[in-house]
């Protein structure tokens, strides 16, 4: 495998084990994901055979303590793993993001000891899959308006409502679901097979085709008392999203590296007017734009990773990274598509697939626009959300 773009020698800043894990995931993706992913993408199926292999590598529960089956590694290692998974495909990274940040994280942070011991080891070894239900058909950027609600009963809670755009909903053994209890957002763990709970798969996507996307439907769904998470208000789900968005900031760089490296290689071997197209000014301009923007995104990620490791990262800093990195990754994918000419639309090259995936990544986990407003609010003191 070729050494990846590292224009400012950032590898020198990462530790031996961070590099070793990143390169291990990179080799895994090269051997196991890249050769098969196009076929799955075209068919619109998630490659289930990857799940136990990912678990064996230690992809699930990267930052979770070892006593719960995790690896007890730092956030930087989590980020680097997401980068390499998304170099393969955003669907694989999304799977790992959800399992780590949106399911294992809230269980570790907000569930009782019994639920932690019951679920975390299984989620870590891949025998259980999780999903995260926050978004609703009519409440995306505005989650505080959610309709899904819980009512307290003698034995627990009765859940009613519907969630949409839920990665892995259909295949999940456990769902972390956010619903209003007395008008305040609360979190609940809903097990597969609970009466009144169903999760049909959404079809017809032109993006993230190798990922399972679902609806979650709750009709008088009975939840035991102890399955309510110990966190109140929107800060519960938002704390999970901060974790996931951090992983996306790294992941987007993986997709960007994939399209950049493909475009660079292609431009050096594609001959037009008797010369490699890499020798033409307009092609060089596109390649330099990509290289330069990826280098800046790598710097943002390195710094943000260290802030995460020191537990000092602010949500708005994570917004900056997610917003910037996904945007430049999508722009790079579009430029790479142009450099590849007609070949760029073929599954033989990864660029069109990444471009289509990144369209989703740009608007999920906080749209680009919402992250702009988070940053706008932070620097001006004025909220422009509504």
């Amino acid at each position: 495998m070729q050494k990846s773009l590292d224009y400012l020698n950032l590898d020198e800043l990462y530790s031996e084990e961070e590099i070793l894990f990143r390169d291990t995931v990179k080799s895994f993706v090269y051997d196991e994901v890249s050769p098969i992913i196009d076929e799955y993408y075209q068919k619109g199926i998630y490659p289930v055979e990857l799940t136990p292999k990912l678990a064996e590598l230690g992809i699930f529960g990267i930052t979770v303590p070892t006593e719960y089956g995790g690896a007890g590694a730092n956030y930087t290692m989590y980020g680097l793993a997401m980068q390499e998974l998304e170099r393969g495909d955003s669907a694989i990274r999304s799977f790992a993001s959800v399992q780590n940040s949106l399911v294992m994280y809230p269980i570790l942070k907000y569930a009782n000891e019994e639920l932690k011991s019951k679920w975390l080891p299984k989620l870590a070894n891949g025998t259980a899959i999780g999903c995260f239900g926050l978004t609703e058909p009519d409440y995306g950027s505005n989650p505080s308006g959610m309709i899904t609600n819980a009512v307290e009963t003698e034995s627990g809670y009765l859940l009613n409502g519907a969630k949409m755009w839920i990665t892995n909903g259909t295949v999940a053994d456990i769902a972390v679901v956010w619903a209003k209890l007395d008008g305040v957002v609360n979190g609940f763990l809903v097990e597969k097979g609970t009466k009144g709970f169903s999760a049909p798969e959404m079809k017809g996507k032109y993006s993230l085709r190798a990922s399972v996307t679902s609806e979650l439907i709750f009709q008088d769904c009975e939840i035991p008392k102890e399955n309510r998470l110990n966190v109140v208000g929107l800060r519960g789900p938002l704390s999970c999203l901060s974790q996931a968005r951090f992983g996306i900031a790294y992941g987007a760089v993986g997709a960007a590296l994939s399209v950049y490296e493909s475009a660079l290689e292609y431009s050096k071997t594609r001959i037009q007017f008797d010369k490699p197209i890499a020798s033409f000014q307009l092609v060089q301009q596109k390649l330099v734009y990509m290289m330069n923007e990826i280098t800046k995104a790598q710097l943002i990620n390195y710094r943000l990773g260290r802030l995460m490791d020191e537990q000092r990262a602010l949500p708005q800093q994570i917004s900056l990274a997610k917003r910037n990195n996904v945007e430049i990754a999508l722009e790079s994918a579009r430029l790479a598509r142009e450099i590849h000419g007609a070949n760029g639309i073929l599954g033989e090259y990864p660029v069109m697939r990444h471009a289509a995936n990144l369209e989703s990544v740009k608007t999920y986990e906080g749209t680009n626009d919402i992250h702009t407003l988070i940053l706008g609010q932070d620097i001006t003191g004025f909220s422009a959300f509504a």
Binding site: M1, Q2, K3, E16, E17, I19, L20, F21, D23, T24, S27, F28, E56, L57, G58, I59, I62, T66, A71, G72, A73, M77, A81
Partner: protein, 248 residues
């Protein structure tokens, strides 16, 4: 069962090698270094043997301080101990063999594994030299191995076929593709490897018995022409065969 695995740090096989300014070494700038792929096979075989029979696996390398990352990789794959015979960049295969043999004499392993060659200089000398210095039997280029008690049976790749060879422990085995499918280091093991110590011993920086004078990279030229079945291409083919190749 005590197993010694000799490993080396080599440039990634996809590296576009650039010759250094002295004209006789590789410019390390921008080169990604990895565990030699044939040594991965050797280490994997050692780990499987330990998993079956118990014992421990020691990974050893001769080189500079940078080689600790390669040893760390071996520890993360599952080696129990790691040894760095630290010194200058080894002068040649013989100096590596002498250093490895010095350690092996103290350790007395039941079996020594190496890759059949390192993908950097490809001199293919080390396994045989090491076995010779230690006075041990050696089977090279092994693609299938069975060890039962002290009986060793190995399949070797030979030109156009296979050969089955047997010997007894202790011995030296060099690994060829097909021997196994090396595992990826798992994250929990990478975290554990971080805490394992790497033993350092000083190398006897032997004088080189062989000396590199010059390295060069062959020029790549586009020599072939691709022609289709269009009228112009057929005319071009006839012209080329007539004027360049002078065969018609």
């Amino acid at each position: 069962m005590n197993i010694l695995v000799c490993i080396s740090r080599v440039p990634d096989t996809a590296t576009k090698v650039i010759i250094g300014s002295d004209g006789k070494s590789i410019d390390p700038k921008g080169v990604k270094y990895i565990l030699n792929p044939y040594d991965e096979l050797a280490l994997e075989e050692a780990l499987r043997l330990r998993e079956k029979n118990g014992g421990n696996v020691t990974a050893i390398t001769v080189g500079t301080a940078e080689a600790t990352e390669t040893l760390r990789n071996a520890l993360a794959m599952g080696a129990d101990n790691a040894v760095l015979v630290k010194g200058d960049e080894p002068a040649d295969s013989y100096s590596v063999a002498v250093n490895l043999a010095d350690y092996a004499k103290k350790m007395n392993p039941d079996v020594i594994f190496l890759g059949k060659q390192s993908v950097d200089f490809d001199s293919l000398q080390l396994p045989s030299m090491l076995a010779e210095i230690l006075g041990l039997p050696s089977i090279s280029v092994v693609s299938k191995l069975t060890i039962d008690g002290t009986n060793v049976s190995a399949e070797r790749d030979i030109e156009g076929g296979k050969e089955v060879v047997s010997t007894t422990l202790p011995c030296v085995i060099s690994a060829q593709k097909g021997l196994n499918d090396p595992r990826y280091p798992k994250l929990p093991d990478i975290m554990k490897a971080k805490k394992k110590p790497i033993e350092e011993i000083a190398s006897n920086n032997l004088d080189a018995r062989t000396v590199v004078h010059k390295m060069e990279i062959p020029l790549k030229e586009r020599k072939a022409k691709i022609l289709g079945d269009s009228v112009q291409d057929i005319e071009m083919l006839v012209t080329l065969l007539h004027e360049d190749a002078k065969v018609i």
